[in-house]
């Protein structure tokens, strides 16, 4: 339903989106994943006709966005919840959008109800909290009952309840047969929401696969073993040709069946105090995958670095890179 073909955007000598191609299918939530500054927002703006691509094109139902008549009835989008006039009421905001596409005014009250803003619909939208602005933005996206929905970082700044609500909403919309494209820089969030993943880094496509495949492929399984005779165990495992990482009081064996490690220890006559399989964290996998393409990387978060405690990819030094490149 959305086709992106060789899409490229350059600002001067900087290439923000580089020959990107992918498709978004109906009935699925497609996660659009990449670190900050990877070109996600720019790509979405080009799909929606706000920015003109330097090369390539983006088609919706086989047509460029500019050619759609009554586009709100075909594509609903929420790129930035702050695109509202602070003195205009939520209802007036939706009313002018509805009028632009000849959408029945009754629909305005319906979507206000859907997002739970009916009671505050007459209030100036500038006084809304971020969560309420997000809800207003979603109401605008749903206004034309479109078959395609595009959301840019919709959970940013929301409380857990709001995050859960949006996640459920997106899944419901896809279950109704709609195509949902949602961007995020949070791998963990996408693992919960998306059926399909498109991963980009520095404007280039890194992966285009189902979420399950992506996780299986990119997370490395390892086995953690502990023994009172760690040194001997280490030698035994090394003789078997296994890749070992030293931890404080244990060893981590990469990509080996857990049974094999148990057998090796038994044959060497070494007692084990712990033998546990571990699956790698999604965040680590994501970081490893995009590491080469991260524009402004966090020195602590690269491959081999300490596992990130926070599920966010944001490091204090590299926030605010997404968005307006001008």
């Amino acid at each position: 339903m959305i086709e992106v073909i060789g899409l490229t955007k350059q600002y001067g000598s900087a290439t923000v989106v580089n020959d990107l191609s992918f498709t978004v299918r109906k009935g699925t939530v497609t996660g659009f994943l990449g670190p900050n500054g990877a070109g996600k927002s720019t790509t979405m703006r080009m799909i929606l006709g706000l920015d003109t691509p330097t090369k390539g094109r983006a088609l919706i139902f086989g047509e460029p966005y500019d050619n759609l008549s009554k586009p709100l009835t075909k594509v609903g989008s929420l790129l930035d919840a702050n695109w509202i006039h602070p003195n205009r009421s939520a209802r007036s905001h939706l009313r002018f959008l509805a009028a632009t596409n000849n959408i029945n005014a009754k629909r305005v009250d319906k979507v206000l109800d859907t997002v739970g803003l009916t009671k505050v619909a007459g209030r100036a939208a500038g006084k809304f909290s971020l969560g309420m602005k997000q809800r207003l933005g979603l109401a605008a996206a749903l206004l034309g009952d479109p078959q395609i929905l595009i959301f840019d970082e919709p959970v940013n700044g929301l409380d857990p309840e709001g995050i859960f609500w949006i996640r459920t909403l997106m899944k419901d919309l896809a279950a109704e047969g709609r195509a949902v494209l949602v961007s995020s820089h949070l791998m963990s969030e996408m693992a919960l929401t998306a059926d399909h993943l498109i991963v980009i880094g520095a404007g280039k496509l890194i992966a285009d696969s189902s979420t399950a495949d992506f996780i299986a492929r990119s997370t490395r399984a390892s086995v953690r073993v502990r023994s009172p005779q760690l040194a001997q165990l280490r030698v035994a495992l090394q003789e078997a040709g296994l890749e070992i990482t030293d931890l404080d009081d244990a060893l981590e064996v990469n990509e080996a069946p857990i049974e094999q490690i148990g057998d090796i220890a038994f044959r060497a006559g070494l007692p084990l105090h712990e033998l546990a399989g571990q699956s790698g964290s999604l965040e680590q996998a994501f970081i490893r995958l995009t590491a080469d393409s991260v524009e402004y990387s966090d020195p602590g978060g690269g491959p081999g670095g300490p596992p990130l405690a926070s599920p966010s990819f944001d490091a204090p030094g590299n926030a605010q890179l997404e968005g307006d490149p001008r």
Partner: protein
């Protein structure tokens, strides 16, 4: 028409246009009082009664420019383009709406100012009458002038995309720049053909002009031509630039 209606909802759902309309009325009627009241209104004249309408026109340009610059300020221009991706139509709808409002507001304010002065002036030396076509033009001419000035302001707002710059230019241009140009030797001879000087000819009494200046109807056409030129530049930039 659909888009004009959407633009009408946008304009009517914020406060600043109402404030601007009040200010236009205050300016228009205030000068009418000043012209009609002192000395039993001996000095009352059509031109004097309508001095405030010219100031009202400047305020109307602020209203018109803000109708587009606030969209850039708050990002609603993107919501607008998402709903109406054909940018020519958006600019056209805004211009049509501002033009129609300008036509109505300009005519109403000028008529109101005229009749207020007429009512206040007990014994004017020149009788305040609207009988000849020339006199009607001097009053109702403000309708087309407001309309064209509004379109010009929308164009300048679109080109600059920010309120402060657009308002500064629109206020300083007629009050300052055109007067300064007229002081420059040789170049100054063409000053009456600059947009606002030319436009002002349309609401001046016939036969009072200097011979280098355009006639009233030439003046209107020149003013409209300047507006069209700015509008085309605005359209070009609007289509070319990323929103």
């Amino acid at each position: 028409m659909t888009l004009v209606n959407a633009e009408r909802i946008k304009l009517a759902s914020t406060r600043s246009p109402y404030w601007c309309l009040v200010a236009i009325l205050v300016a228009g009627l205030g000068f009418a009082v000043i012209n009609g009241l002192p000395d039993s209104g001996q000095g009352a004249s059509i031109g004097g009664a309508l001095l405030g309408a010219t100031i009202g026109m400047s305020i109307f340009m602020v209203l018109a420019a803000l109708s587009i610059t606030t969209e850039y300020r708050f990002g609603t221009i993107r919501s607008t383009f998402l709903a109406a991706p054909k940018r020519f139509n958006v600019l056209l709808a805004k211009s049509v709406l501002v033009g129609v409002i300008g036509l109505v507001v300009g005519s109403v304010v000028a008529l109101a100012a005229f009749y207020l002065t007429k009512a206040l002036a007990a014994s004017p030396i020149m009788p305040m009458e609207l009988s000849t076509g020339d006199e009607w033009r001097q009053v109702l001419g403000y309708g087309p002038l407001f309309a064209i000035a509004g379109v010009m302001a929308v164009s300048v707002g679109t080109i600059l995309r920010q309120s402060a710059g657009a308002v500064a230019i629109l206020l300083l241009w007629p009050l300052l720049i055109e007067r300064l140009v007229s002081l420059i030797p040789t170049v100054g001879d063409y000053a009456p053909w600059l947009p606002f000087a030319a436009g002002q000819q349309f609401v001046s009494a016939a036969g009072t002009q200097n011979p280098d200046a355009p006639t009233p109807f030439q003046g209107l056409l020149v003013f409209a031509a300047w507006a069209l030129l700015l509008w085309l530049i605005a359209l070009f930039l609007l289509k070319k630039r990323d929103a």
